[in-house]
């Protein structure tokens, strides 16, 4: 008979925090001012071919706010960041006219990012302070989200600050209806940029924005010729919204988005076990879970982020972003509804007798 192993509560005693944590030993390392901590922010731009990704990125690089950016592109598009801004070129990295870097990803994204970080550290390329990735039109954003959690080397150096989905007014509604990737790009995004509104009438644009709102409660911005407030692309994403409108299944074709709110702090062990059950049983359907959680053992709120079966390392913040101290979790799933997830939190809470269940719907 095999020995039954009881999962132990996360403890800092085994690690350096146990030896050197002092009175203020922390579960998740130094408290950070923001979710990315000191890591280099990565902005990943998704969107179908012709949606205006390159135009958007080029317009950003033309602005002072876009300086010190390294750009990674999957392929040089027709609009061509290279033609307009190229100053000198090497095999992989090119220096753009505004001092930004541009890499053409001929190899793996992880390898490119690791190479960029190493070259920067040894002074082989100019010091940059953010990375913008232009994904190929058909890219599933899931693997990009996972890149920054699964790869130890990348997760320590880079932080996916924002996944931005570019949707053009002319083809957006059709793409979302026909192409699962387009729908997923919108559903998983932290921000959505609507382009080419000047090429469609107001009702068409309005219809698109309404559809986007059904798929995702993320902020929507409108760019004309790629022009949009740079902070919409570069700023830290807002904390997950408490109010969250859940689109009907008929519109979302099986994609579910919902929020859970917890009034009282959670104990880390209970939270961790609940998420462990979810990821173990329904990992592939757990497209993205992000949130800000009050943990009993922590003074500051903890940023959590799951993509399918992968958990990003939690980050404890120095303070709450606003007066609302309730835990909020945003789920984007495939066919996994709010009631089942809320029930699981409640059931684990009953067993742990410590984890309070969700008591408010985000609607």
């Amino acid at each position: 008979m095999s020995e039954v192993s009881i999962p132990s509560k996360w403890t800092s005693e085994a690690g350096p925090e146990g030896l050197f944590g002092g009175k203020d030993a922390l579960l998740f390392g130094r408290r950070q001012r923001r979710a990315r901590g000191p890591r280099l922010p990565v902005i990943a731009v998704t969107g179908f071919l012709g949606s205006g990704k390159t135009t958007l990125i080029r317009a950003l690089l033309d602005k002072p706010e876009g300086a010190n950016t390294a750009v990674i592109v999957n392929e040089y598009g027709e609009v061509g960041i290279d033609n307009a801004l190229l100053r000198s070129s090497s095999d992989v990295t090119v220096l753009l006219g505004n001092g930004c870097l541009c890499c053409n990803v001929r190899t793996d994204l992880q390898e490119t990012l690791r190479g960029l970080f190493a070259d920067r550290a040894r002074g082989a390329i100019p010091s940059f302070e953010r990375v913008v990735i232009e994904t190929s039109g058909l890219a599933d954003p899931g693997p990009i989200l996972q890149t920054f959690a699964t790869d130890r080397g990348l997760g320590r150096e880079f932080h996916l600050q924002a996944l931005i989905s570019v949707v053009d007014t002319v083809n957006g509604v059709g793409n979302i209806a026909r192409m699962p990737e387009a729908k997923k790009q919108v559903a998983l995004a932290d921000r959505i940029v609507v382009t080419k509104s000047d090429m469609a009438d107001a009702p068409t644009t309005g219809h698109l924005i309404e559809l986007l709102g059904l798929l995702n409660a993320a902020p929507v911005g409108i760019a004309v010729d790629g022009e949009i407030d740079p902070s919409f692309l570069l700023a830290e994403p807002p904390t997950p919204q408490r109010r969250f409108d859940l689109g009907g299944v008929e519109h979302t074709h099986g994609l579910c988005s919902f929020a859970l709110i917890f009034e009282k702090p959670l104990c880390w062990a209970g939270f961790k076990q609940t998420m462990a059950v979810l990821t173990a049983l329904r990992g592939p359907d757990l497209l993205r879970v992000k949130g800000l959680v009050a943990i009993e053992e922590c003074r500051g709120p903890v940023v959590v982020h799951f993509v399918q079966h992968v958990a990003h390392p939690p980050v404890e913040l120095e303070d709450w972003p606003d007066g609302d101290r309730r835990s909020r979790l945003i789920f984007v799933t495939r066919g996994l509804g709010r009631e089942a997830v809320a029930q699981l939190f409640t059931d684990v809470a009953a067993i742990a007798a410590r984890v309070p269940g969700p008591d408010a719907v985000g609607k």
Binding site: P16, F20, L26, R30, R33, P38, R122, P126, S127, E129
Partner: protein, 405 residues
């Protein structure tokens, strides 16, 4: 470097100090009676003594006072303030010269520093004071020579001295300690010299004492490594431990900063040779759980030598931010800020002390008139507002920054 490299710092201002931008290792904040925040800076070398800069608005620093040295054969590389008292270290270029010692000033009117007293440390074998620590308003802990001290080797001319300045007009020595074997008459044999060219002396550099352990002094003892002293009886300091990692390392242990609550010691070397001749000069993370047996467990990661050594002058560790036990100084027992000459200012998170992680850097472009063609970031101070002040050793003057990590 022709361009500034900056990551997770935000530059607020740069002041070249009107052509006298060579700053040493003394940086201290005074809150003047009228509320102004004055940063006192020690110059690295003659002709200037110290400069006072109003940094109330860190985006617009303004010079409010500057003093000249009385002699060109001296330097005042180190200073500290407590309240309205400023202490300045005077070291001469050669032994036997004067004035060598320290001077106390009344700076209640920052524009008009008034001398209170001069404490003479000159002597046939003394160059005076290289560095002083003055935090509690009562004692100065310093690296100094003395008229009655004859070293066994001329490079070991400075030692640890504790001076009672409770009466600022009448400073008096209350205790001293030197590495056994470095004073003539010691029964112990003199320490084995480091190779010629790399022999920088068995003498203290920084001499830090904190209120968390008023009975301890933490000494960077240059070629002698790190020394922890029991100073519960100030008249008879006793050595608790000495961690000496030279050879194979090249000597010049500079600063020891304890992270008391975490049982860690952060230890810096000073790079004193150009173009990588004494590489590597490091910031060490030392396990201090057993103070009688400190154990190094990591060093802070640095960009490779081959890149920076080409930029000219020195590249390697030097000063640490020392968690000064004063109300207007920032405290952190997780973040290390260290200066690396042409490697700039670098910040590390020591949450996992086995793997300190770089979390920011500021490597300013070389100042226009830099004699070496390189920036030489020399020292760093952080006030309680978390404004970071860092200085160039040669001409660049003062840079003010915000931490963004």
């Amino acid at each position: 470097m022709t361009e500034t490299a900056i990551w997770n710092f935000r530059q607020l201002a740069h002041h070249e100090l009107d052509g006298f931008g060579g700053i040493g290792e003394g940086m201290s904040i005074q809150i003047a009676k009228d509320g102004r925040r004055i940063l006192w800076l020690a110059h690295e070398s003659a002709p200037k003594n110290f400069t006072a800069v109003d940094v109330s608005d860190p985006r617009a620093p303004k010079i409010v006072a500057r003093a000249d040295l009385p002699q060109s054969h001296m330097r005042s590389n180190s200073l500290e303030t407590v309240g309205d008292i400023l202490a300045v270290a005077y070291q001469t270029t050669q032994q036997g010269l004067q004035p060598a010692g320290f001077e106390l000033f009344d700076i209640s009117v920052p524009e008009n520093p008034r001398s209170i007293t001069f404490f003479d440390c000159s002597g046939p074998n003394s160059r005076g004071v290289h560095q002083l620590w003055f935090a509690d308003g009562e004692y100065i802990h310093m690296s100094s020579g003395a008229p009655d001290f004859t070293p066994t080797h001329p490079r070991d001319d400075q030692f640890y001295r504790i001076i009672d300045v409770k009466k600022p007009s009448k400073p008096a020595e209350v205790g001293r300690w030197w590495l056994p074997g470095t004073r003539q008459g010691d029964t112990e044999p003199p320490p084995a010299r480091h190779p010629e060219g790399a022999d920088t002396g068995f003498r203290p550099h920084n001499t830090n004492v904190y209120p968390e352990r008023p009975d301890r002094a933490y000494l960077g003892y240059i070629d002698g490594g790190m020394v922890i002293l029991d100073i519960s009886d100030k008249s008879r300091p006793k050595m608790i431990s000495r961690w000496d990692y030279h050879p194979p390392y090249h000597g010049f242990t500079h600063t020891v900063v304890p992270f008391f609550d975490r049982n860690l010691l952060i230890v810096s070397d000073e790079c004193v040779r150009t173009e990588g001749a004494d590489w590597p000069k490091l910031v060490w993370i030392v396990d201090g759980r057993t103070e009688s047996n400190p154990v190094p467990i990591a060093t802070c990661p640095l960009p490779p030598l081959d890149h920076y050594m080409r930029h000219g002058a020195r590249y390697g560790a030097h000063n640490l931010y020392e968690n000064l036990p004063k109300p207007n100084a920032w405290k952190s027992d997780r973040v290390v800020l260290a200066t690396f000459f042409n490697g700039g200012l670098r910040a590390y998170d020591t949450s996992n002390p086995y793997q300190p992680a770089e979390i920011g850097y500021f490597v300013p472009a070389a100042p226009e008139r830099a004699p070496s063609g390189a920036i030489q970031i020399n020292d760093v101070f952080v006030d309680e507002r978390q404004v970071v002040y860092t200085v160039d050793r040669h001409v660049g003057g003062l840079y003010t920054l915000e931490m963004d990590f």
